[in-house]
């Protein structure tokens, strides 16, 4: 009883003052809102924004948990590798261990806390200044952000980027539902271009690799894309490891199995658009097939700097890197994606297509998925505009036929 009635009393006390949205937000976040809609309702649906957001978060939790264990696992595996011991991944043998969890929690949870703390602070400030209720929009963004950054990113960088992403990416457009770019990707893009040394390379993906660089027990953990881009051979990594996610990478993107599980949740609850997910995958596969065709035709020799990634079999593009994570959790953002059904097919297809293109042709950016999604966010309104205009034209024609 205690907290709830206290909050309710505070709510009543501060009703009508500037601080009211803050207390309301805490109240609705923790408890069921005790208010019903005033006035006539026109559309009845069981879900509201909060429920939608919670489903996405539920779909993300497996990735987060896996990311925590994987952070510890990669840490110890890299230390063993530096000593010359090869590690064989086995789920219960050396993956789901207490040691891994401690290391992972020690590194991942601060990212989550900073992301939520800073982001929600900004949201609260804006809600109080502008006098509207705190919107739930940050719940998903705050969960996505820790999953798409390297494990050892300094927390202050994350905080700066979150402030940038929430203010410039979202609040200046009027808050949740109005933004044109996905806020989580805006945050990642800010980090990527402002602090490139911490966002790419072969040191940042494994805990403590940066501190140990140059010392006697230096460890390294390069992502597979980095290795491919340098045409180096991939020794000791098999496809099942890639699929299950026992590889270095951003916190939440590695396990393709859990991402597929999340996709199933999102598609089943109709929160994520299956059109976007499938068309992204199709786009990526087609681009991969084109590149494979180029390699098979012999237009690109082994000496070419693009050979390494171009010769990757097309289906492997899906299990290396973060294209699945981007397709399932990022591209399906209902605000910044295309709104029309036909538009969603085009939008998703181009995301997959351009992602693989950037991955292969742009060695400066080892992973292009997030940039491809941002680019298509920019063009989503254009696609929608033409799809809608096309529909208008079609109906006008029909109308003419009828009246004629």
């Amino acid at each position: 009883m205690g907290l709830k009635s206290n909050l309710h009393n505070l709510k009543l006390k501060y009703q009508g003052t500037k601080m009211a949205p803050a207390f309301n937000a805490i109240h609705t976040f923790l408890y069921l809102p005790n208010e019903t809609t005033h006035g006539g309702t026109h559309i009845k649906a069981a879900d509201d924004l909060k429920r939608t957001m919670n489903i996405v978060i539920m779909a993300l939790v497996p990735c987060l948990l896996f990311g925590i264990f994987n952070a510890g696992y990669q840490h110890y595996a890299a230390i063993d590798a530096a000593k010359g011991i090869a590690t064989e991944a086995s789920l219960f043998g050396n993956f789901l261990t207490w040691d891994n969890f401690v290391i992972g929690a020690w590194t991942v949870l601060p990212l989550v806390i900073v992301s939520y703390g800073v982001g929600l602070l900004v949201e609260f400030i804006f809600a109080i200044i502008k006098g509207h209720e705190v919107e739930e929009g940050y719940l998903v963004t705050g969960m996505l952000v820790p999953l798409i950054v390297p494990i050892d990113i300094p927390l202050w960088m994350l905080a700066v980027a979150v402030v940038f992403g929430v203010v410039i990416g979202k609040e200046v457009f009027g808050g949740t539902g109005m933004n044109i770019l996905n806020p989580a990707l805006t945050i990642r893009a800010f980090l990527f271009f402002a602090y490139p040394t911490w966002m790419s390379g072969d040191k940042v993906w494994v805990h403590e690799a940066v501190e140990r660089a140059g010392t006697a027990d230096a460890i390294s953990g390069e992502t597979l894309l980095g290795a491919y881009a340098q045409n180096s051979s991939l020794a000791g990594i098999d496809y099942m490891d890639m699929f299950f996610g026992f590889i270095p990478g951003s916190v939440g993107e590695t396990s393709k199995l859990l991402i597929i599980l999340g996709a199933a949740i999102l598609i089943f609850t109709k929160v994520g658009s299956w059109r976007i997910i499938f068309s992204t995958v199709i786009g990526a596969l087609i681009m991969g097939l084109i590149f494979n065709g180029v390699v098979d035709a012999g237009w690109i020799g082994e000496s070419s700097k693009f050979y390494g990634l171009m010769s990757v079999p097309f289906w492997q593009h899906l299990i290396i890197g973060s294209i699945l994570f981007g397709a399932v959790y990022m591209a399906t953002d209902p605000v910044s994606a295309s709104q029309t059904n036909k538009g969603k097919w085009i939008y998703g297809f181009l995301i997959g297509f351009i992602s693989i293109m950037i991955r292969v042709f742009n060695p400066a950016y080892p992973e292009g998925v997030f940039l491809a999604i941002l680019l298509m966010n920019v063009f989503a309104p254009t696609i929608d505009h033409y799809v809608v205009q096309g529909n208008v034209k079609k109906r006008m024609k029909r109308l003419k036929v009828k009246t004629a």
């Binding site: 502008k130 410039i168 990416g169 200046v172 457009f173 009027g174 808050g175 109005m178 044109i180 770019l181 805006t186 893009a189 800010f190 271009f193 490139p196 040394t197 911490w198 790419s200 390379g201 072969d202 040191k203 940042v204 660089a213 881009a229 340098q230 700097k305 693009f306 351009i354 950037i358 042709f361 742009n362 060695p363 400066a364 950016y365 292009g368 940039l371 491809a372 941002l374 680019l375 966010n377 920019v378 063009f379 309104p381 254009t382 929608d384 505009h385």
Partner: protein, 239 residues
Amino acid sequence: MIEHIELFFKSIFIDNMVFAVFLGMCSYLAVSKKVATAVGLGAAVIFVLAITVPINWLLDQYLLQPGALKWLGEEYATYDLSFLSFIMFIATIATMVQLVEIVVEKFSPSLYNSLGIFLPLIAVNCAILGGSLFMQSREIETLSLAFNYGISSGIGWFLAILAIAAIREKIRYSNVPAPLRGLGITFIITGLMGIGFLSFGGMLTGGEEENAETKEQAAEVKMISEEDKELANNTKTIK
């Protein structure tokens, strides 16, 4: 053929007139309220760039470059008239725009009316002069490449104004803070779109420096992305 395709994609996406070098901003900001007018202006820009860049290429090649006057006789081979480029280029552009205007008015009055004041205004659109000057500074080799460059940089500008017009139509009902409404939010959108277009920065070229050195430290990735920025500033020439 390969260099044509490369130049085409490069000028549309990598060296986009709006997002890489921020040229032609005035009409880009002013005429992007509705998609229909934006398309009209974008088409006009493509058209004018496609005409003026090859003409200016000819001027540059046979009149302005150091040694361009060789065809007049050996004694002119040392002449360097490149200090005249600005005035020559802008004169060509103004004439061509005027000509285009007359032709369009004569043969398609409806298009002329829908473009309205924007058609003459193209003469002072910096993207047009920029196209000619980049053509000069990047030493584009043949007439057909210059034509290609004109068309493709026009398409890049067209895509930019099309995208922002659609976005501005979409956010018309957004609750943008009052001081930012109108131009302010447009500038912010342009910046965010620039981040989107950064995805192409350094594509195709970014790896050469990287391959030359053995990549040891992540810091080198930073160097490469700095070089990308130089590319955006046009200190590099198109190959």
